[in-house]
Symmetry: C2
Subunit: 117 residues, 2 copies
DNA sequence: TCTATTCATTGACATTCGTCGATGAATGGA
DNA sequence: TCCATTCATCGACGAATGTCAATGAATAGA
């Protein structure tokens, strides 16, 4: 019996085999999607602006606070909408955005699952 | 006095001006860096594997649980090291990695600052 | 109906990212 | 000293990302 075919999972048997990750691939991809949506300083500050305003804010008022164009703001808002970090509602010509606090509230739970506690 | 030069911050004065984001640009960039480090399913599962193992795990044992090559695992580990999500320690030829639980513990606080609560 | 305003979408571009194969550095053992 | 093993780094590649200018869709008001 060669050393290559040993039992414990690693070649030499000098240390215990490592436990596999417990988080399913599907959920890892879901969490990664959430984090990816927040992996941009502009999106974080858009979220923070919406959170700092009690009332919903329309896109043109968001644009005023950033040095980037309106299409880019719309692009970021779409990403935040698709990950349900913000909600949108239209009033006439305007689109009013507000933060979805429930969504961010799930972060501690996600952190616990990743950290296996 | 034209409507363009009105006082309240938006052109028509029909709604209150939006409050600016409170989170400083510097901190937004810092948080985005943290989230970016977690914005990949493989890195999340590497973190979860390290968390599921009480003892530090060497790179070759990590590699066994993923369908990607060792250089790519090393690349991900470097990103997690640079953002201090994991710590490394060498023992002879081996590099042993373990999770840095303090770092993930700061997430709820970051979430609160972003959400302005 | 026509015009102005608000916002989303498209297409393009440079940059960044995830992955790989190849190679290099460090360590331990023969 | 030489070799085997472990891990990091480099160079390259395709895919995804952030940004913009231009355009389109929807709505309100004249």
């Amino acid at each position: 019996m060669s050393r290559k075919t040993e039992v414990s999972g690693n070649g030499c048997g000098c240390r215990p085999a490592a436990v596999a990750p417990k988080l399913p691939r599907i959920r890892a991809r879901e969490y990664a999607g959430w984090f990816k949506a927040l992996a941009d300083p502009t999106r974080i500050r858009i979220l923070n602006l919406l959170a700092a305003n009690r009332e919903p804010v329309c896109v043109c008022d968001i644009v005023k606070h950033f040095p980037i164009g309106q299409p880019t703001i719309s692009h970021h808002l779409k990403i935040l909408r698709d990950t349900c970090f913000v909600k949108a509602e239209r009033r006439g010509t305007f689109m009013y955005y507000r933060v979805n606090r429930n969504c961010l509230a799930e972060f501690p739970q996600a952190a616990r699952l990743i950290m296996d506690v």
